[in-house]
């Protein structure tokens, strides 16, 4: 009995010693200049950059849910799903999709293939349009994508699209504007001055809070940040498809904001800038012409007064 007690005490002593030593070494390691750890999240310590792979997988899973399970696998044609549709539908992400999104499975190859399609989701639908029921009153079911987006952003806080998509659906279909704004601000904490996040934040102020002054400030800050980030970069990067898309969105939204505020000349200037990067400059020219007509009219009545 005495021996057992001695062993237990000895074991306890060893546990205390080891814990003390580990705590001491940990304190030293945290202050050590050679420590490159950005966080002490156990998951990050264990799988490191591998988190991004999982994050990508969860982001994809959110898009699978957005389609109620009707989604191409690695064996199917994925051309129409290169950009997640849940992101494309926010209007804040440039689309790289092409091809037939409804018929990625192709015609049935054999009897089993045809028969199998009765037992799997077999029609292209989006949750915000009611999903398989096609009932538009059920558009709130888009909430089902949120858990996967949350996990994805937790695993890869540098993926800007995750925050943009989460915030968009929170504020537009679920009426959770404050939560949407909070998501974007969290994204900005990890990705300071990111133009895409600032663009979406500006939309929150413009479309939901109707605060034109703050929306303008945010969008102008986004443009400034974009120019700063692109300074010294070659034109191939500066005017890449994604970059041109975000600049066009910022300029056209600033133009809309100025038009709403009654500043037609400023709106025209923004549209002129947007025209330089737009894939459809004719459409923008038409808008410019309309604004010029309004500007030339004797009495310009602003559509809404700025806040």
């Amino acid at each position: 009995m005495k021996t057992t007690r001695s062993y237990v005490l000895l074991l306890l002593l060893l546990v205390v010693l080891c814990s003390g030593l580990a705590a001491n070494v940990d304190c030293w390691y945290m202050g050590w200049p050679g420590n490159h750890e950005s966080s002490f999240n156990p998951l990050e310590v264990m799988i490191g950059e591998g988190q991004k792979l999982f994050a990508g997988s969860f982001y994809r899973e959110a898009d699978v849910y957005y389609h109620s399970g009707y989604y191409p696998t690695i064996f199917d044609n994925q051309e129409a799903f290169k950009t997640a549709h849940m992101a494309e539908d926010t209007g804040a992400v440039a689309s790289h999709n092409q091809g037939d999104e409804a018929g990625f499975m192709g015609p049935p190859l054999d009897f089993f293939d045809a028969f199998n399609r009765y037992f799997i989701p077999n029609r292209h639908t989006h949750l915000d349009e009611g999903g398989p029921t096609d009932d538009l009153s059920k558009s709130g079911e888009v909430r089902e994508i949120l858990p996967w987006l949350k996990i994805s952003s937790d695993l890869d806080p540098e993926n800007v699209q995750t925050y943009v998509v989460t915030a968009y659906w929170l504020r537009t279909r679920m009426g959770k504007v404050a939560e949407g704004e909070q998501v974007l601000r969290e994204g900005l904490r990890y990705n300071p001055n990111n133009p895409q996040l600032l663009y979406e934040l500006g939309r929150v102020y413009f479309e939901n809070y109707h605060d034109l002054r703050r929306a303008r400030n945010i969008w102008e800050a986004a443009l400034g940040s974009w120019e700063q980030q692109m300074a010294g970069k070659p034109d191939s990067v500066k005017f890449s498809f994604d970059n041109k898309f975000i600049v066009e969105q910022l300029q056209t939204h600033l133009a809309l904001l100025e038009e709403t505020a009654g500043n037609f000349s400023a709106a025209i200037a923004h549209l002129e800038q947007a025209k330089l990067v737009s894939p459809a400059p004719d459409r923008l020219q038409k808008q410019i012409d309309e604004l010029k007509q309004k500007l030339a009219a004797p009495a310009n009545v602003p559509a809404a007064a700025p806040h």
Partner: protein, 258 residues
């Protein structure tokens, strides 16, 4: 028929005494409860992720129960030599085989009823609806799929010497069919001969267990599968089960028991 039921009853009683089901059910319930306690953006109506996790656990548990229990049936009888007093009774080898199959399959069915009832409660707690017909279709398809798996395991227990190798091989084969069975023909079309023909042949020979997986339809609230199509799938399962049992009997009737 009475003899078959008597043997299946013994198997059912044995399964009832085993701890496998209870442990798996508690693990499923615990994991589901923990995942269900998480709320995202203060929205209590988000449910599909929970349904997906719960159904995945149910499928995994059912495969463990079906394969684990069936693989031990005949080897255990042989090892403990209880097969000899059984054979001394007026029962044929076919009846023993059918009794073992029926016992294992019924046990799986009872376990599935409990699992699906739990799933229904979890889903209803958040969705506030009971799509009972959908759940019935999913449960029946799942059970039909397990009939094929049980028959396949029974055949494996007669062909393979060790229980562990039977469990491993059957489990890998089942999971592989569930994951890629649907795409074998598509993959074969992109291959060169003779592998393309071989893979296409394999595609037509394997039991298409993935047909019976209605999880996506349940998770995403898709409408019911047409009952006529559903019935054909059940007939397909019955045909495959019969074929596998026939093969098992062909092996078992000539097998030396010592």
């Amino acid at each position: 028929m009475n003899k078959i039921f008597a043997i299946s009853n013994v198997v059912l009683l044995e399964m009832y005494r085993r701890k496998d089901f209870y442990v798996l059910f508690i693990v499923t319930a615990l994991i589901t409860a923990v995942m269900g306690s998480v709320t995202f953006f203060k929205d209590a109506e988000i449910v599909r992720y929970l349904k997906a996790i719960c159904l995945f656990l149910i499928w995994a548990s059912s495969l463990f129960i079906a394969i684990g229990a069936t693989a031990r049936q005949i080897p255990a009888e042989r090892e403990s030599r209880t097969i000899f007093p059984l054979m001394a009774k007026p029962v044929s080898r076919a009846q023993i085989l059918l009794g073992k199959f029926l016992g294992c399959w019924l046990a799986c069915g009872v376990a599935l009823v409990i699992f699906y009832a739990f799933f229904g409660c979890v889903a209803a707690a958040r969705e506030h609806q009971w799509p009972l017909a959908n759940y019935f279709q999913a449960w029946a398809m799942h059970w039909a799929m397990l009939a094929i798996v049980v028959a396949m395991t029974l055949l494996g227990s007669l062909v393979l010497t060790a229980v562990s190798s039977n469990i491993t091989i059957t489990f890998i084969a089942t999971v592989a069919i569930l994951l890629v069975g649907r795409y074998l023909h598509k993959v074969a079309l992109a291959m060169s001969e003779p592998s393309a023909t071989m893979l296409t042949g394999l595609y037509y020979v394997i039991p298409h267990l993935e047909l019976f997986d209605l999880r996506d339809l349940i998770i995403h609230d898709w409408p019911l599968v047409p009952w006529s199509v559903w019935s054909i799938a059940l007939v397909y399962a019955a045909a495959y089960t019969a074929l596998l049992l026939l093969l098992s009997w062909l092996v078992f009737r000539k097998k030396a028991l010592q």
